[in-house]
């Protein structure tokens, strides 16, 4: 079986914001900057989130409050941000998200993580507009690093073209609006009008807090005995997919049982806020 590389977050904030004519990372939605919103969102799904910047942006106060990964090369676009992250932290997979996606949702990230294919170079959505892969809300696996080097070596740097020419798992997004990006002042005004409505969207389940306890192999692989997680997972099955990606658990779900509130439970049991969940690896008492 394949072992998932641990998943880290990378929010791309190194863009030139040419058409917007002001820094896209600091655009406000509901009083919070796009960059802060994006980092918070990604942090709900992975353990560690880094912000990708160009060398000249490293001292910018909006960015400097986060752990930064500085582009190793200038002028070759976002693929350098992804490659620089792999170089800085080899062996990790990256949940890469552009900071100019104001509609990006927990639902979209959750689907990406749940349907991730660690054997592919990346797992990405196809655009609802043109059917082509969307590189800037995608999971990039460790094996992509060497492939990116070869791609750059051939003088290419378009991440979308990279995905079109490599073994990539492509998904239809369930949240069809999540990847609409905002590049111009007109698009920003329109998105700002829509954002409060999107928060109230009844199809978006609210995140809830769950208490997870870990034992034995799972305690060792997650590096903790317990944690409180904020999640949109509605069943133990969804929750395990999410935490398996986050912590790199090696056991497939089929080998586990699950307990909710200290009783054995079905994988499809609906979860409620405050539930205590324990994943039970194969037992060996006696």
């Amino acid at each position: 079986m394949s072992v998932h590389a641990p998943l880290r977050g990378l929010v791309l904030a190194g863009g030139a914001s040419g058409r917007m004519k002001r820094d896209k990372a600091t655009l406000l939605y509901e009083g919070r900057s796009q960059l802060d919103r994006a980092v918070e969102l990604v942090a709900r799904h992975v353990d560690q989130v880094f912000v990708s910047v160009r060398a000249s942006q490293g001292a910018d106060p909006a960015r400097a409050r986060y752990p930064l990964i500085v582009d190793s090369v200038e002028g070759r676009g976002p693929i350098i941000g992804i490659r620089s992250a792999s170089a800085a932290h080899p062996g990790n997979a990256w949940l890469v998200v552009a900071c100019d996606l104001p509609f990006l949702s927990d639902r979209a990230l959750r689907q990406l993580i749940a349907e991730r294919d660690p054997a592919a170079s990346a797992t990405a959505y196809t655009s609802v507009h043109d059917g082509l892969p969307e590189p800037l809300c995608a999971i990039w696996e460790p094996k992509a690093a060497a492939e990116i080097d070869a791609f750059l070596g051939r003088g290419k740097d378009c991440p979308r073209k990279f995905l079109m020419n490599h073994a990539v798992r492509l998904l239809e997004p369930k949240d069809r609006r999540a990847l609409d990006n905002v590049n111009t002042p007109e698009e920003y005004v329109r998105a700002s009008d829509l954002i409060p409505a999107s928060s109230a969207d009844p199809t978006t389940a609210p995140a809830m807090q769950l208490k997870i306890q870990y034992f034995a192999l799972m305690r060792e692989q997650s590096g903790r005995s317990e944690e409180t997680v904020e999640t949109l997972a509605s069943t133990p099955a969804d929750l395990y997919a999410e935490l398996k990606a986050r912590h790199g658990f090696t056991l497939p779900r089929e080998q586990l049982k699950v307990a909710v509130n200290s009783e054995f439970a079905a994988w499809s049991r609906p979860l409620a806020a405050g539930d205590a969940v324990v994943f039970i690896p194969p037992v060996a008492g006696g």
């Binding site: 192999l217 497939p252 200290s262 324990v278 037992v283 006696g286």
Partner: protein, 162 residues
């Protein structure tokens, strides 16, 4: 009917006294010990860990099932957790009953179910310096060695004495 955990050595004399009953004509017990050799590896010591809250409930259910199935007087199971050395007792089961047959049968049922159903894990430490969670790491690498039982979760390859 009682199931419990201990972090210290199991006091079998005290446990046995809990089973005494004027109507009991017999008593059977089982002890599971730490063995020095498993799956070709020389074991130096073990660590047992349990999800005690759930294991206590499930342990009580197993004892109740044994009492429902066999006409026994009393049953008790004590499982040790923490670090155990070779030949230490990991688990003790005792049953008293009117006649010997049901004491043996109930004892066997209880230990078999305890091994399969309770959320208890065992980490073996080997002379080579290596270590591993029994039934987790080997099976994760070789899932074809699994064989499911009625509970859908049986990974017991009978690695140990118990």
């Amino acid at each position: 009917m009682r199931f419990r955990f201990t972090h210290a050595a199991i006091d079998t004399a005290a446990a046995r006294r809990e089973l005494i009953d004027p109507g009991a004509g017999g008593y059977a017990s089982f002890e599971g010990w730490v063995r020095d050799f498993n799956e070709g590896q020389q074991v130096t010591h073990l660590e047992y860990e349990a999800f005690e809250e759930l294991a206590l409930k499930e342990g009580e259910r197993i004892l109740a099932e044994a009492a429902a199935r066999f006409p026994i007087k009393h049953a008790l199971c004590i499982h040790r957790v923490g670090r155990l050395s070779l030949s230490d007792m990991a688990v003790w089961v005792g049953v008293s009953s009117t006649h010997r047959g049901e004491a043996f049968d109930a004892c066997r049922l209880i230990i078999d179910e305890v091994k399969h159903r309770l959320p208890i894990w065992k980490k073996e430490h080997y002379r080579s310096g290596d270590s591993g969670w029994v039934n987790c790491e080997r099976c994760a690498a070789a899932p074809e060695h699994r064989h499911a039982d009625a509970h859908g979760h049986d990974h017991d390859h009978d690695h140990d004495a118990a």
